[in-house]
């Protein structure tokens, strides 16, 4: 299925958000996620099933002012 990850189209096989993140290379990274603009807590990633065309934001700590 095709989903948007941080604005770029990506092909993923896993529907479950947690598994999709692992496929995409995030592994044990400290990241936080939103699906279609809604925050998804880390504990909820296994319950979220992605659908074709979904938009996923994967954010991490970064420099800020």
């Amino acid at each position: 299925m095709k989903i948007q990850v941080n604005g770029a189209w990506r092909e993923v096989s896993a529907a479950q958000l947690a598994a999709a993140l692992a496929d995409l290379g995030y592994g044990e990274s400290v990241v936080t996620t939103a699906v279609n603009g809604e925050f998804v807590a880390v504990q909820a990633r296994e319950q979220i099933l992605l659908r074709d065309g979904d938009s996923v934001e994967v954010l991490a700590p970064m420099q800020g002012g």
Partner: protein, 257 residues
């Protein structure tokens, strides 16, 4: 001692973590500034590069308290979602709430800001709103549950100092018991000293330190200025006046009378 959301702070200089020439310089600048609070942000992470992981390790090693921001958010929805994401990653209820309303000045959208502040406060966040010096907006933010305000000195990154002295003095006078942190627009240590002399509780500096030729030296200079300004405020500055008053006693002046 400054206390914000029941957290005592010895340092009145908060430091931003962006735009330094290197992570090592950032770390040295935080130490030179003797900052206890460092602002951080969230950005898109690539699964291949994982750039954020190294940064997060660096910040944790510094042992400072982090103040995550919602920089770049232009709507209430974006800011609220970003705040949720920040709370999870940084494990803090503190959020420097930015809802940008205009791109040339990065002026806050104060209507969206108050709405987002109300939502987040109700959800248990401790909100640090990036706002203007507008008294009515300040009142609304306090009504929304904010216990600290962060008025701009001047547009972010502009280095102009305290742009609206009248407005900032009025804000300070109007809310004597509310912690007020000047956020944005300061360019020089003298600007920071002036803010503290006027009675502001702290300043948040980023670009003026990070983009200085020697950020570490500039961080130390800001630390000294903030301490000087706070000491001067505590010492009770004299009022400015239009006419001269001799400092040397005139009684007994030679050749008079």
């Amino acid at each position: 001692m400054l206390e914000i959301y029941q957290t005592p702070l010895n340092s009145r200089l908060l430091l931003g973590s962006a735009r330094y020439p290197s992570p090592a310089v950032l770390a040295a600048a935080v130490r030179a500034a003797r900052a206890e609070v460092v602002t951080v942000s969230l950005r898109r992470e690539s699964g291949a590069e994982r750039a954020g992981q190294g940064f997060w390790s660096l910040i944790r090693e510094l042992g400072v308290r982090v103040l995550p921001n919602t920089a770049g958010c232009h709507s209430v929805k974006e800011a609220v979602t970003t705040a949720h994401m920040a709370r999870e990653v940084f494990a803090t209820a503190w959020i420097k709430l930015e809802v940008i309303g205009e791109d040339d000045t990065l002026q806050p959208d104060v209507f969206g800001l108050t709405e987002a502040a109300r939502i987040l406060t109700a959800e248990g966040f401790q909100v640090f709103p990036y706002t203007t010096e507008d008294l009515v907006v300040a009142e609304r933010l306090l009504e929304a549950g904010c216990r600290v305000l962060m008025p701009w000195g001047a547009p972010i990154g502009s280095g102009r100092g305290l742009n609206n002295l009248f407005g900032l003095r009025a804000l300070r006078a109007h809310f004597p018991g509310v912690p007020l942190i000047i956020d944005a627009g300061l360019g020089l240590p003298s600007h920071a000293a002036q803010a503290l002399e006027l009675g502001f509780d702290a300043v948040l500096i980023n670009t003026a330190v990070a983009q200085a030729r020697d950020p570490v030296q500039m961080a130390a200079a800001f630390a000294q200025a903030v301490e000087a300004g706070a000491a001067a405020r505590a010492a009770g500055p004299i009022e400015a006046r239009d006419l001269a008053v001799p400092s040397t006693p005139v009684i007994g002046t030679a050749f008079r009378g």
